[in-house]
Every structure is written in structure tokens, then in C-alpha cells.
């Protein structure tokens, strides 16, 4: 299944950049069963990183306790208008996705 693009917004305010990312992912825990009683296989993001231009600013491990279609917001010092923010994730099936946004 093709993955959906993330919606990323980044805004600089007084030297601090706030990044908000809406990530489209099923985040299936592997604990649930479908209507036929069969276990729905686990499918969730395991790693997520964010970069400011080429510099790594956030590195995190995700797990099954995170909701479907997660929303991630974080702030970091620095960043200027027009700079690039890149968010990428990797899931337990080995699928990856990377999306970009420009700081406003």
C-alpha cells in the first residue's frame, strides 16, 4: 500500500522554530482482530527523524502506543525563513517515507 504524504508545517517565531507534522500511518499494534477473528498484523513506525537543512535535530523511536495518524509537534532553537525541514520515518515492514517543508 502506498503511503500518504505527511503534512508538515514549520514556523519561526523569535528565534525558535516550531515544527508540526501530521503523519498518515495505520499504526496497527498487532493486538487487534478483524471482524473474522484473524489478528491484524502489526504495522507501525519504529523510527522517526527530523532534519533542519542537513543537520539532524530530532531522532526518536516510535512504538505501538502511538495513535493512528500521529501528530508530532516540537520546537528547536534556530532555523530561518526559507530553511528546509525534512521529516522521515521507517516502519516495521521496512517502508520509509520522507517529506519536506520550508520554514515560514
Amino acid at each position: 500500500m502506498a503511503t500518504n504524504p505527511m503534512k508538515i508545517r514549520a514556523a519561526n517565531n523569535g528565534g525558535v522554530t516550531e515544527v508540526k507534522a501530521l503523519i498518515g500511518h495505520d499504526m496497527e499494534t498487532g493486538q487487534r482482530k478483524d471482524s473474522a477473528g484473524a489478528v491484524i498484523p502489526a504495522w507501525f513506525i519504529t523510527e522517526l527523524t527530523a532534519k533542519h537543512n542537513d543537520k539532524l535535530i530530532l531522532s526518536s523511536e516510535f512504538g505501538t502506543s502511538i495513535s493512528k495518524n500521529p501528530f508530532l509537534a516540537f520546537k528547536f532553537k534556530g532555523g530561518a525563513k526559507g530553511d528546509k525541514i525534512t521529516v522521515s520515518w521507517k516502519d516495521n515492514k521496512g517502508e520509509t517515507r520522507t517529506d519536506e517543508a520550508v520554514i515560514s
Partner: protein
């Protein structure tokens, strides 16, 4: 002795009142917390992801006739999406029927793309064609965000639907003898910690109608108005209406007409 008894009773009464008011305060606090939570994640309403799929679907050529929906008339002219759902349900001359957004989309998909309406009527929520319907709805209602709820009741067919909807709203049925009014006919009611709007009033109806369709955080699903209404009937433990049936459209007309002048906040974000 007798006086003492009375005193004890009075004390119990006072304690009872005290207990009640603290429960009410707790409920207010929780409602505030929910409102704060909504505000916090308002920027990240996952409906956006569904709406993006819907926009893509609107432009994608598919179905037996291999067409897209850009010629679909939602009431404001062929292909006009902006503000269309704020003025629905409405009477459509070409079908001779009052239609809500979803039944109108069913017509468009049938006439333009050749997709059988049975795919929806017999379909399952969040599955197959129904999932596509939900994405399209998410896209279209997002395009009406911020507009005023404005349904036109001047057509006699609309008036008839309004009256039917009002009747359905007050009609009690099922093993629990519930009607819509059982939960939505009183100010300040709530179910668990969710405030229930009084849908008989303009402000209450605007709070309800204006925020559906919505993304439900608990299930991670996007729910259309048809899904919402269907679930209201399920919760009443009575017969669930057929997808797109007259009673669902009538109820929508009644709610939208009562909410007239309110602001469209779709897509909503619910627990």
C-alpha cells in the same frame, strides 16, 4: 429525639447538595480539558490526510465510465466545491429530490463514473467504495470551513423534508423507547464527559451540525454525517436507517435548518 432526626436529615441534605455541585464542577473541568485538548490538536486534525485523498479522488478518472467528478454539480454549478456543503441538503431539479452531500455524490458517481449506488447502500463503513466516499466528503466539507450554514427552505420539497425530519427527531421507537430528543432535547446534558448539544435550539444545532462530518480520534476514522446519524440510531438500539434513505436526509434538513446562520467548522475533531 424528633428534632435530632430532622437535624441529621438536614445535614444529609446539605451534604447531598455539596456533593452534587462538586460533581458539576468536575464535569465543567473535564469539559474544559477536552476543549483545551481539541485546541491543542486542532492544527493536526487528521481529517486533512483524508481530505487530501478526497481531493485526489475528485480529479481521478475512475469507474466503468472512466471519468472524474469535476462535472459534478453540488448545487452551486458543475464542479464548484467551495462553500457547497454549507448549503446542503438542497433540492436538486435534475433528480427531483432533496439530497444531502452523500446522496448527491452517489448520483454524481453513478451518472458520471457509472459506479453503482448499491456499493454504498450495501457497503460497509471505511471499506471499499465507502472509504472513497468518506475521503470525498472530507475534501468537500473542508472547502466549506468558515462559511455560514445556509440551507434554502423555499422549495416545497425542502419544507416537506423539514417537517418529516422534525417528526423523526421527536419520534420514539425501539426497545428503549428513545428518540433523538431523549439525549438532544435538553440544555446541559452529557453522556459520560461529552457535552450533548440541545439540537432543538439554533446554537445547539449549529454546534452539532456545524462540526460533523468529523475525524474520531478514538477510532482513527473519518465519519460522515450519514455514519453519525446511523450510529445515533444504533445507540438508540432501534433499526438502523438505510444509507442515504429519506429519513436521514430529512433529519439533516431539520438540523441544518435549525442551525441556519451558524458557522461551518467542518471537518470536526471528536474524541
Amino acid at each position: 429525639m424528633r428534632q435530632k432526626k430532622l437535624y441529621v436529615l438536614l445535614a444529609a441534605l446539605v451534604a447531598g447538595v455539596g456533593g452534587l455541585s462538586s460533581t458539576a464542577a468536575l464535569a465543567d473541568e473535564s469539559a474544559d480539558a477536552i476543549a483545551r485538548y481539541r485546541e491543542m490538536i486542532a492544527d493536526g486534525n487528521p481529517s486533512e490526510l483524508v481530505a487530501a485523498q478526497g481531493e485526489e479522488l475528485w480529479k481521478t478518472q475512475r469507474g466503468p465510465k472512466n471519468a472524474n467528478l469535476e462535472k459534478c454539480d453540488l448545487g452551486l454549478g458543475a464542479g464548484v466545491v467551495k462553500g457547497a456543503s454549507a448549503q446542503m441538503p438542497r433540492y436538486f431539479k435534475d433528480t427531483g429530490k432533496v439530497q444531502d452531500l452523500e446522496t448527491r455524490l452517489m448520483t454524481c458517481m453513478q451518472t458520471l463514473q457509472g459506479i453503482d449506488p448499491k456499493e454504498f447502500v450495501n457497503g460497509k463503513w471505511n471499506k471499499g467504495e465507502m472509504e472513497k466516499m468518506e475521503a470525498l466528503v472530507a475534501y468537500i466539507v473542508t472547502e466549506s470551513n468558515g462559511q455560514k450554514i445556509n440551507v434554502d427552505l423555499s422549495q416545497p420539497q425542502m419544507k416537506k423534508m423539514y417537517e418529516l425530519g422534525k417528526k423523526a427527531f421527536y419520534y420514539r421507537s425501539g426497545p428503549m423507547d428513545f428518540a433523538c430528543t431523549t439525549c438532544h432535547g435538553e440544555e446541559g446534558k452529557r453522556i459520560r464527559l461529552q457535552d450533548l448539544p440541545d439540537l432543538r435550539t439554533q446554537s445547539g444545532a449549529a454546534a452539532g451540525w456545524g462540526t460533523w462530518p468529523a475525524y474520531r480520534v478514538s477510532s482513527g476514522e473519518f465519519w460522515t454525517m450519514q455514519h453519525r446519524l446511523n450510529d445515533c440510531y444504533r445507540q438508540q438500539r432501534t433499526a438502523e436507517p438505510i444509507y442515504g434513505s429519506d429519513v436521514t436526509i430529512a433529519l439533516s434538513v431539520y438540523l441544518a435548518a435549525t442551525a441556519k446562520g451558524g458557522t461551518v467548522l467542518t471537518p470536526g475533531l471528536k474524541r
